[in-house]
């Protein structure tokens, strides 16, 4: 109805500018734009203003979590996809882990002349959780980049890609844990009551993985060197972190063990499963790291989540 030339001051206005009263009646909502996700419920009016965009980062995380049906199915699909047309399917995850653990166990128990009943449980738990840790971080580097087509074309919270990644890696971990059970049964290992500490340990472990993975995902999308940096970093850390060797064999612990966050992360899940005690230093470090990391990632995601769609 109204029409203006392409002037700098003149702006085309259509159907009269918004009735001010009306825009006040509409409640300012921070629930984000995930309307397609909930076809059943009546969608409330959603207002997205430029000023409110950073505040929607939190809503993005919450709304993404609510779509568990979507991301869990895509996570299972990822696994099925990987082993499509193979006879043993995802059992290959378990078999590969078994072969790796058996080989490393054989090599190191021979090399360091250690008792296989000690080294094998230690190495298997270490490798299994190292696999989950590095899986989440390396997948994190491509979490948004590899979902470009979906991010740019589907109205859904960005965080679904992050949840899909976490779910996929936890499913893989589940297959790998079968090896731990086999090793425990074979060596008749009884972890005792310390094993109960695995539950808080694993939760704390996952919280730390979650923030690392999401932070790496955001940074990798913006700076395309980060994935390469991370790949190298992970490789170095595999040797510096006591996974296939034990710090107990060393006369005194070097700084790259005591100050290595990955060592403490692995320790809070490995030690309970082996029936050992977790040092209070490890608990404290992992809790501190979770708090600081969540804070950092929250800040980062708040700042960057709205731009990820442009960066992918």
């Amino acid at each position: 109805m109204m029409h203006a030339e392409d002037g700098e001051s003149a702006q085309p206005v259509l159907n009269s500018p918004l009735d001010v009263k009306k825009s006040h009646e509409i409640p300012q909502s921070t629930t984000g734009m995930t309307t397609a996700a909930h076809p059943k419920q009546q969608a409330p009016a959603i207002r997205i203003s430029a000023e409110a965009v950073p505040a929607q980062a939190f809503a993005d995380i919450i709304n993404g979590a609510r779509l568990y049906e979507l991301w869990s199915r895509f996570a299972f699909h990822d696994i099925r996809q990987r082993f499509r047309r193979s006879v043993l399917g995802p059992l290959w995850l378990t078999i590969s882990m078994g072969i790796l653990v058996a080989t490393l166990g054989l090599v190191f128990s021979t090399l360091f002349q250690q008792d296989a009943s000690k080294t094998l449980p230690y190495i298997s738990t270490g490798i299994i959780f190292w696999g989950l840790l590095t899986g989440c971080i390396t997948d994190g580097t491509t979490v948004f980049i590899s979902s470009e087509a979906i991010i740019r074309n589907v109205p859904a919270p960005l965080s679904i890609h992050f949840y899909r990644l976490m779910a996929r890696n936890i499913i893989i971990w589940g297959f790998n844990m079968a090896i731990y059970l086999v090793v425990v049964a074979y060596f008749e290992l009884v972890p005792g009551w310390n094993a109960l500490l695995f539950i808080p340990g694993f939760i704390l472990f996952l919280i730390n993985l979650a923030w690392m993975s999401l932070a790496v995902g955001v940074l990798s999308t913006r700076y395309r060197d980060i994935p390469q940096l991370v790949a190298n970093f992970i490789q170095v850390m595999f040797f510096l972190t006591p996974i296939f060797w034990s710090p107990l064999t060393l006369p005194n612990r070097p700084a790259f063990v005591t100050l290595n966050p990955f060592y403490h992360l692995i320790e809070i899940v490995r030690a309970p499963l082996l029936g050992d005690e977790v040092s209070s230093a490890s608990w404290a470090l992992c809790i501190g790291m979770a708090a600081a990391g969540l804070g950092f990632t929250a800040w980062l995601y708040r700042r960057a989540h709205a731009r990820i769609a442009y960066w992918v």
């Binding site: 085309p12 918004l18 009016a45």
Partner: protein, 235 residues
């Protein structure tokens, strides 16, 4: 009641050249101080939408027209919540569905039925919802036994049929469509026509970005023209 109001919407985004996207250049540019800074950070800011005001009411079928790069797709992406406003605000009442890429979520290695589910989940449908629509989708796609074969064995036309069949099965209050939606051979076109009509009939607001005047005059009751991110005219 579905309703959209767009107030003074501006969307800007930075396009990073290859050099500024790498961390090395970022660090080097800091190390070398201000001198090379401007050269090393070749960031171009694009203003894709500039101060757009628009009210869209229940029953509106909007034909969004404009040159390539005039901001049509960007506007659809903002309404879908994919791009966020850098100025102004949008208010949306109703479920938003988008057909920006009718194949999003589909996987060439999976078979037809699996792909109906994958695409359905991506459109926000639940497992049960897809199951109830499965017969309608498979019948419409008319692919028969091919549904049991991996998508990569399909011809482009068959792929498009399947994507179209699933994508048009959803039920939304607001539907955003980019470029023409159609699929298949001449014989199929008639079925397509009916299906688009029924999709438009049950959707309170449709926004269709297209270069096809025929499509717009047939399906739309309003016409919004954009040029260089600015609303040129609207009726």
């Amino acid at each position: 009641m579905a309703h959209i109001s767009i107030e003074n919407l501006t969307v800007e985004f930075a396009i990073f050249g290859a050099s500024s996207r790498s961390l090395k250049n970022r660090i080097l540019s800091h190390a070398t101080g201000g001198r090379i800074m401007s050269g090393a950070r070749d960031v171009v800011t694009v203003r894709a939408i500039d101060g757009l005001n628009l009210e869209i009411n229940d029953g509106d079928r909007i034909g969004l027209v404009g040159h390539n790069g005039s901001g049509k797709t960007t506007l659809l992406r903002v309404l879908a919540g994919i791009y966020k406003p850098s100025g102004g605000a949008i208010t949306i009442e109703g479920q938003v569905g988008a057909l920006l890429d009718p194949t999003a979520g589909m996987d060439p290695e999976s078979n037809g039925i699996e792909n109906i589910y994958l695409r359905g989940y991506m459109m926000g449908m639940s497992r049960r919802e897809i199951a109830t629509k499965l017969d309608d989708i498979t019948e419409f796609a008319g692919l028969g036994d091919f549904l049991a074969l991996p998508l990569r064995t399909y011809s482009a036309g068959m792929f498009a049929r399947l994507a179209f069949a699933v994508s048009t099965a959803a039920h939304n209050d607001i539907l955003l469509i980019d470029e023409g939606i159609s699929a298949g051979d001449a014989e199929f076109q008639k079925k397509v026509q009916q299906r688009i009509e029924s999709l438009f009939d049950r959707t309170p607001i449709v926004i269709l970005a297209s270069h096809s005047e025929a499509l717009i005059s047939e399906f739309c009751n309003r016409r919004v023209q954009m040029e260089h991110g600015v609303l040129k005219s609207a009726a």
